[in-house]
């Protein structure tokens, strides 16, 4: 549900003066908390920027909560999703029942302030699902410690670390219309031959059933920043994949200082980045403490909160396994503790073991419950892995590297495309360098089209969640480019054709060709 117009803005008393300089605010609140007058602050689990006065924080939350309550009257299942005002966008995401994440963006602060609200929501979703993967759901954290302090500390560090990826210069850079041929929260896969696939499956089965264990270990295999194999559910795969690309892949390890994994603009220098982060952190630290009966400037009390998204904390050990001390050290030793994470599908807590050989990253998830003797057991599993499969890994890496087509491997000349498989959380798109060749008009048109499709998808979902609707749109943009969207049986194809000829026939032929050639005819059903 959308709210449009500046009426809302004025009537709710939101003024731009209250918004911090960066033009962006995040907040997470639990609407079940702080029900009584005077305890409203208790609702707030996280607010960014934290130096923002409580009055402003509360007014943002008040507005959002009010809208949510109001819209629930008409739509109890899906309350408000976005408020589009003249100067601000409020993007809503109900991460867990009654726990809301809100992103407020000030349009005037961004030169290219055109985005899809769904893309912004994607950021919120990603933060939340990664958070849950590492720390468990917010609800359990709150239940564990009803004061909420525990959850707040975790959120604070997690959010801060996450935002470093979006910080370019001194600004937080949001996914704009330029990223309309990208989809956050999806996995990019490497296309492999049949022979290669069976070799990899052979590796996966050996990884999955170590001798002596009767549980199956899950694994994820990446080649560079592309997924090769997974045994996890699509959602778990997407989360872990995102984490790998952000922090674990060879690329992330070597350039984690300077590059945003998703950003096209790779100019920022590590130094500026780090300083920004620390500045932000310091600022956050300062005011964070004040909000809860502590004097300003005090460091958060729980310092040993694991910060899985902290940058530059992973490195490659001598045995090929990646190590980090983010999870602290074993009691009484200086050995780093093996990270753990939660699988969404099985609600299982697993150790995270990452082995890297050249471009190949192998993530092995060992159920915590399967190892009685913790770190010792992990060491044993690691040894076994080295013994049994290191040769296989070398062979596979070699063959994949040989067959690897480079960054532009999935470029299809003449097309700028995004292919989405929502069921499996997979996407494939034209390489970023090729997308940048599109003119601004084409990108804006496609962004607009995607926005429309997002709405249409939502409507279908509400009408009949079981039934997927096919959908097709071919639009001639201002600059005579064709922008195309096609949905068929849960798969989505978005395209921009700039050098296409005049006729619609040509455009639809182009889609047809693409579909037959690269999608096994998935989009040429009728």
């Amino acid at each position: 549900m959308y709210f449009l117009g500046d009426y809302t803005e004025r009537s709710m008393g939101l003024s731009s003066a209250n918004i911090a300089n960066e033009g962006i605010q995040f907040c997470i609140f639990d609407s079940r908390r702080g029900q009584h007058e005077g305890q409203e602050l208790d609702k707030i689990l996280f607010f960014y920027p934290s130096e923002c006065p409580y009055s402003s924080q509360l007014s943002v939350i008040g507005l959002c909560e009010g809208i949510i309550t109001f819209t629930r009257i008409f739509s109890p299942e899906a309350a408000c999703e976005v408020i589009e005002a003249e100067r601000h966008s409020h993007v809503f995401y109900e991460a867990e029942p009654d726990i809301w994440m809100i992103m407020v963006v000030e349009k005037s602060k961004y030169a290219e302030s055109v985005w899809r609200s769904e893309a912004l929501r994607g950021v919120l979703k990603e933060i939340h699902s990664l958070f849950v993967m590492f720390h468990g759901s917010l609800k359990t954290l709150i239940d564990k410690q009803p004061s909420g302090e525990f959850a707040r500390t975790h959120l604070y560090y997690f959010f801060t670390d996450y935002l470093t990826d979006f910080t370019i210069g001194k600004k937080i850079q949001l996914p704009s219309f330029r990223e309309c041929l990208k989809e956050r929260g999806t996995v990019q896969m490497l296309t492999i031959s049949r022979d290669m696939a069976i070799e990899i499956q052979s590796l996966v089965t050996v990884l999955g059933s170590p001798s002596g264990a009767n549980t199956i270990y899950n694994s994820l295999i990446l080649f560079q920043d592309l997924l090769v194999s997974t045994t996890l559910s699509p959602d778990d795969t997407a989360n872990l994949f995102a984490y790998c690309v952000m922090r674990l892949s060879p690329h992330a390890l070597s350039s984690s200082l300077s590059v945003n994994s998703w950003s096209y603009i790779r100019k920022s220098k590590s130094a500026s980045n780090v300083s920004t982060v620390s500045a932000v952190c310091a600022a956050l630290d300062g005011s964070h403490g004040t909000s809860h009966d502590a004097s300003p400037g005090e460091q958060p009390r729980t310092v040993n909160v694991p910060r899985p998204l902290q940058r530059d904390k992973w490195s490659k050990g001598g045995d090929g396994f990646l190590v980090t001390d983010v999870w602290g050290v074993e009691v009484g030793t200086s050995l780093p503790r093996t990270p753990t994470l939660w699988l969404q599908q099985t609600h299982e807590r697993t150790y995270l073991c990452v082995y890297q050989y050249k471009n190949l990253t192998i993530v092995l998830l060992i159920p915590v419950s399967s190892l009685i003797n913790g770190e010792q057991g992990i060491a044993l599993v690691k040894n076994q892995l080295l013994e049994n499969v290191s040769q296989k890994i070398v062979n596979i890496e070699e063959k994949l590297s040989r067959g690897w087509g480079g960054e532009n491997a999935y470029h299809v000349s003449g097309y700028r495309y995004l292919l989405l498989d929502g069921d499996r959380n997979i996407s494939r798109a034209s390489p970023p360098a090729k997308v940048t060749t599109l003119s601004k008009d084409s990108l804006l048109a496609l962004n607009k089209l995607r926005e429309e499709v997002d709405l249409e998808k939502k409507r279908t979902m509400l009408d009949n969640p079981e039934h997927e609707k096919d959908f097709e749109a071919c639009i001639r943009a201002k600059n005579n480019a064709w922008v195309i969207a096609k949905i068929s049986r849960g798969r989505e194809l978005y395209m921009a054709l700039e050098k296409a000829s005049e006729t619609l026939m040509f455009a639809s032929d182009a889609v047809e060709k693409f579909s037959n050639r690269y999608c096994e005819g998935a989009f040429s059903l009728d």
């Binding site: 049949r194 022979d195 069976i198 499956q201 089965t205 699509p234 039934h467 096919d470 096994e520």
Partner: protein, 779 residues
């Protein structure tokens, strides 16, 4: 080792005969003990056992040991018989009467004549008939060797060529066409000739070594200490060094003799047999036999030394043995008697009793005592004599190692062995086919011609290497041969398959033999820089085999058919009980091979073990994955049932992600069976269901696809798809009912309209009027 698989009915075959032995002779023997005969002679050229009486010669065919067949007889004139051999066409009987005289008798004309050597200066050591094109018979004399032509019409001999040197004694086997002439004080200097249908090959002179025991005593090599053995089409010579207690192993190449190593001996007297390309070294004094498989040039024995066993009558082994006649019982004590003569390759003749025994390998016993499974499987796959037994054993071994949950790595290498063996048979089979066709079209007679033909193309391209043309030619032709494996196969024997297998078998250090050969081979050393690995070795011996083995035995080689596997699969759809009958019924028609097709692997291994180990899908999946990997590597196909099973097993442990990847990467080859299984398993998982739908669509199974769309309520999509792909087999009423179920009159109207417009004659059907009626009611 196979005990745990006792539930598996076929494991009974693994129990063997109970007695501890790997080699046995089978009762009853061929009896040649007819009174009034003077001795027994073995004519290995014709595989006849000959026994002369005063005026005739009796002959038994040793190939089919049917004891009740009376011997053939031919009359001969009286006189002493030192040796006797039929010509290869059996028209001439040739008898050595004395050291100076050999008598020839033409059976057809009845005429005979005698041939004498110079008395005094030389004496005849022996003779043999040959299928060499330039001569018919070879005489070996103390003064050298003579090749002669026999003229049937004139009934005379004509000397072709004589080579002069001192000969102390000689060894010849028709199987190898190789004669070794011993000379020198110690009889350790050898001249070697091969009289094959391809011509005469003279080997370089070579020395055999003997260990000296005492300072001034030089041992003399005796004729009974030198054995020629033909194994996998390669020719070996085994020289027993009594003092050193070793058996020296030499291998003959076209232009070299290479010492391959030594085998230990435990007896003053040893004998050598070759059964089904397995080398048996009989330690006569200690009454045990040691078996070796020289395929990979490994000199390690296949198993520990065990005695030779005398077995009772075949099929119902034990009972018959108990009932068996007294000779069998009492003969057991006479194993390795003094008067035993070991005939090439696998016969034992008891001269005292006039009995001829054939030696057999007890594959079950060997299997039961071997713990190196991949090696054992390779060994069994190489056996040609009882292929159905080898095959059953291999299948049983596979089942039991899976049921025993051996480590996946071991099972993986076992699978590799079987798959590689099958792939090799298929390739050789199709090559054989091609070769045959070519032979009948263009090269009616000779295989040498044929191999040189593709080779000569190669010669041109390699022509730049300014070397001995002959050699280049030879090299390139043999290379072409090993590469494509097709041109040389016209006259292929089993041995040839095996030899070529050197290059195909997995894990075979192909270069190792060659490099050592290159060292000894002068010719190749000159220009070995270019392709050292190509020089001779396996290739050249394959060539030898080809030329050696051409005549006579060609007819024995049946044809491998590519379709064999599918015939197998269809014939025995299920279960072990049918395996035995199935495999044996198959034998008559085609070349029997122990190779196991992927379909048989599914039917006789995976399908069976799946039932037995339902509780552990992960392990079985791991094994199937290894199997698929192995099969894909050989570019072979797998029955969709195996894919279906894979999906079922993965789904059983909720491994949906892996199923998805396997389908997307086409590891599970698209087929209707697989698609239906995906749809079935997809009842709990939307992704699988979609994959199944996609697969149906990609397979152009339009009818099923449209039906499924309807089933899931996508009737508009189904309509569009049906129109696009011209599917008219789905009844309109199904679409109409689906539209009606939505209770949306607009939708229903659209569907009715669709059929009215696009389906001729629809308007006149009862359906049309019925749904029109419904529509009017609705509106």
């Amino acid at each position: 080792m196979f005990g745990s698989s006792s539930r598996d009915p076929s494991s009974a075959v693994l129990c063997g005969s109970g007695a501890l032995s790997h080699v046995y002779i089978q009762h009853p023997p061929l009896r040649c003990n007819i009174p009034e005969t003077h001795g027994l002679f073995y004519d290995d050229g014709n595989k006849l056992l000959l026994s002369p009486t005063s005026d005739q010669v009796l002959s038994w065919k040793t190939a089919q040991c049917d004891q009740y067949d009376p011997p053939n007889s031919d009359s001969i004139s009286e006189g002493p018989v030192l040796s006797i051999r039929y010509s290869l066409d059996k028209k001439v009987i040739c008898i050595q009467r004395s050291n100076q005289e050999i008598q020839f008798k033409n059976k057809e004309t009845g005429k005979s004549f005698s041939w004498r050597c110079k008395s005094g200066s030389e004496s005849i050591l022996g003779f043999f008939w040959t299928d060499c094109p330039s001569c018919d018979i070879i005489f070996i004399k103390t003064s050298g060797i003579e090749s002669l032509l026999y003229d049937a019409e004139l009934n005379t001999l004509r000397l072709v060529e004589a080579k002069r040197f001192n000969v102390s004694w000689y060894v010849y086997t028709h199987e190898s066409r190789m004669v070794l002439l011993a000379s020198g004080m110690q009889c350790t200097t050898f001249y070697g000739f091969q009289f094959s249908s391809g011509g005469i090959i003279r080997l370089p002179k070579f020395e055999m070594t003997m260990v000296r025991t005492e300072a001034n005593q030089k041992p003399v090599l005796a004729v009974e200490d030198v054995h020629i053995a033909t194994i996998y089409g390669r020719i070996y010579c085994l020289q027993h060094d009594r003092a050193g207690m070793i058996l020296n192993l030499y291998r003959f190449y076209r232009d070299a003799v290479v010492h391959q190593g030594t085998l230990p001996t435990y007896s003053n007297r040893i004998a050598v047999s070759v059964v089904d390309n397995v080398l048996l070294v009989h330690q006569v004094d200690s009454k045990v036999v040691i078996i070796y498989d020289l395929f990979l040039d490994s000199l390690a024995p296949v198993s520990a030394p065990l005695p030779l066993l005398l077995r009772g009558a075949s099929v119902n082994g034990k009972q018959a043995a108990q009932v068996g006649d007294n000779i069998a019982m009492s003969y057991g004590a006479m194993i390795y008697a003094d008067k035993w003569s070991f005939l090439v390759p696998d016969l034992i003749c008891d001269l005292d009793h006039g009995l001829l025994w054939k030696i057999y390998l007890d594959l079950e016993a060997i299997a039961a005592s071997s713990s190196d499974i991949p090696y054992l499987l390779e060994f069994l796959q190489r056996r040609k004599s009882d292929t159905s037994k080898s095959k059953l054993l291999c299948l049983a071994i596979m089942r039991s190692i899976i049921l025993e949950r051996r480590p996946v790595s071991i099972i993986s290498s076992a699978i590799d062995v079987l798959v590689a063996a099958y792939s090799h048979v298929v390739k050789a089979g199709s090559a054989l086919h091609g070769g045959d066709r070519r032979a009948s079209e263009t090269f009616p007679d000779s295989s040498t011609q044929q191999t040189e033909n593709p080779g000569s193309l190669f010669v041109d391209s390699v022509g730049g290497t300014k070397n001995n043309k002959n050699f280049v030619k030879q090299e390139s032709s043999s290379r072409a041969e090993s590469k494509s494996q097709q041109p040389a196969c016209t006259n292929v024997k089993n041995e040839h398959f095996n030899d070529a297998a050197v290059s195909a078998a997995p894990g075979v250090p192909a270069g190792s033999v060659s490099s050592s050969d290159a060292d000894t081979d002068l010719e190749s050393r000159n220009h070995s820089t270019q392709h050292p690995e190509m020089s001779l070795s396996g290739d050249s011996s394959a060539k030898e085999t080809r030329t050696l083995m051409q005549p006579g035995r060609g007819a024995e080689t049946p044809v491998v058919k590519g379709e064999e596997s599918s015939i197998h699969a269809e014939a025995f759809e299920n279960r072990i009980s049918s395996i035995e009958s199935g495999i044996s019924s198959n034998q008559g028609a085609q070349l029997s091979t122990a190779a196991i097709s992927p379909d048989e692997m599914y039917n006789f291994v995976f399908a069976i073990v799946e039932d037995e180990m339902g509780g552990d899908p992960a392990y079985l999946v791991a094994i199937i994955v290894e199997f698929l990997r192995s099969v894909f590597k050989e570019k072979m196909k797998v029955h969709p049932k195996l894919y279906v099973m894979t999906i079922q097993l993965l789904v059983r442990s909720n491994r949906y992600a892996e199923v998805g990847l396997l389908v997307i990467n086409k590891v599970l080859e698209p087929s209707k069976e697989v698609a239906l299984q995906l749809l079935d398993s997809g009842r709990q998982n939307l992704q699988l269901r979609k994959l199944g739908m996609d697969m149906l669509r990609q397979l152009s199974l339009h009818h099923d696809y449209v039906n499924l769309l309807l089933q899931y309520g996508y009737y508009l999509e189904a309509l569009r798809y049906a129109r696009r792909n011209k599917v008219i087999t789905v009844s309109p009423s199904l679409f109409l009912e689906a539209a009606l179920a939505t209770n949306d009159s607009q939708q229903l109207a659209a569907v009715v309209r669709f059929f009215s417009d696009f389906t001729p004659g629809f308007k006149s059907t009862a359906e049309h009027s019925r749904f029109l009626g419904i529509l009017t009611e609705m509106s």
